[in-house]
Amino acid sequence: MSLISFPFFVFVLVLMAAYYLMPCKWQWVVIPVFNLLFYMSYGAVAVCFLAVTMFLTYAMGILLNRTDDHFGALRKACADKEQKKKYKADCVKTKKRIMLVGLFVDFVLWFLFKFTGLFSFSPLGISIYTFIAAGYCIDVYRGKYRAEKNLFKYASFLSFFPHIVQGPFSRYDALKDTLFAGRRCSFERLEQGIIRIVWGCFKKLVIADRMKAAIDMILPRDSGYGGVYVFLLFVILPIQLYADFSGYMDIVAGICHMLGIRLQENFKQPFFARSIDEFWRRWHITLGAWFRDYLFYPVSMSRVVQKISARCKDKLSPVLVRMIPSYIALFFVWSATGLWHGKSWNFLLWGWINLLCIVSGMQFKPFYERIKGRLHITEENKCWRLFQMARTFLIFGFAEMVSDIPSIYGIWTKCRSLVCEHNWYLAARPLQLFPGLEIRDLVILGIGILLMLILDILKEKNVDIYGLAGRIPVFFRYLGYVSLFYAVILLGYSGKNAAGGFMYEQF
């Protein structure tokens, strides 16, 4: 059941009715039922695999709690300090074993589907729920919170349909209170949720799908489009992906807003980032946070890595010694992030491009600062900020192109054409630059992207968008809403190259 389809529209309507007709105390019960219905629409077999992960990680959480309680009671009853220490060490050892077994089974399932090609299908959202479930287990192991005792509540969380297809990577402690709390229906919340859904549809159907049509024509190695068209790819790929992915997030966040549930935000105006490092704290935020908490920290703080750093103490500068654990961990993080996106080597290369940018930015920071000082450039300088934002944007665009072309020869051909193909004069003729798109499409794209930019500028300035909309007189506000709705209906791209599904669904 696609998020942009009539059956899904009916699904949301029935969900709202069922949710708000329930007594507040039992509203949360509606969620697992609709999660199941939503998931079943993608095939009943996939449910079995989701159930395996669900039961496994639920049982693991309970076991971890019981281990904690058991050794906690032993330590409480014991007066000897040494014995207490032993109990603590035993507790950590037992918990670690439980967690490792659970994580192993959890990730083996994911690995089998994602990397081996043994199965002809992949359960919907397996990359998302595997990682969410793993995060839950690690958090319980670390004692961040107690495991959920109620299986249905845990099932509601893990299979929560707004996050299971493309994320966000929700955390149990962040979602549980808002997911299980009852609330009355609010007209204001419904209105705000609906407009966010329509805005998400606008981004997806009017902007992303329209741009995808041009990208699909330029991107193939043998497309015949090189030179200025490749540079164009660097520019339009990030915008297209942003409109597609954040459009999806707006739709699911809008649905959650209507239910009064706060979903973690996954984007924070990424194109205002001034470095790749900052970019990844603004783009797909919850994925970055997952890798930070469950891979970056454990690797960088592991005994092995800390020992490597300690051994270098007398051989390298103190600054480099302190950075070594981060560099080693970042290598693992970006290799894993690349492989999470796809099993082919170009995704790995994509990860390493990001790694290179981040590490070089960290390592050469003092050098850059000296150069900036000599040129009298300050951080507040607007031109400098614009340059940094444009540089970050283009690097991201280049990396995206690498991830979209599955052969090294294809990437080389595209990059070489930037220099060898003499068609840069076309930059002065924008109407000829976008294959597959007519003047009408370009005008619609221009207006759509401008709207997206204005909204992001307002958000960057911490303007409360809902509050701002609420201050507009009712007539004009609803005129705007209706216009946006009709724009989606009338201007939604339906050409032969229309993208259809969301880009991130494949992960």
């Binding site: 670390r142 703080m301 103190p318 302190r322 981060s326």
Partner: protein
């Protein structure tokens, strides 16, 4: 305490560690800073800060980090 403050100032010379008591909550330190601090503290004080201790209350101020070091040295 003074030695610790000196270590922290070497890592982030732009931060006033003496007066700041919400280093994590206010986003003053990022994950890279935290790891640099952990590595420097592990080397200087011969302790082992592991992931379980990565909580804001242990890294929000110089005093908090110092308390964590004392706790680990006692264990």
């Amino acid at each position: 305490m003074e030695q610790l403050q000196k270590i922290l100032e070497e890592i982030r010379p732009d931060v006033d560690f003496a007066s700041e008591d919400r280093l994590i909550d206010n986003g003053v330190l990022d994950s890279i800073d935290i790891i640099a601090i952990v590595t420097a503290v592990n080397n200087a004080y011969d302790v082992e800060i592991n992931v379980q201790y990565l909580l804001p209350e242990h890294f929000n101020s110089v005093e908090a980090i110092y308390r964590l070091i004392c706790k680990l040295q006692d264990e």
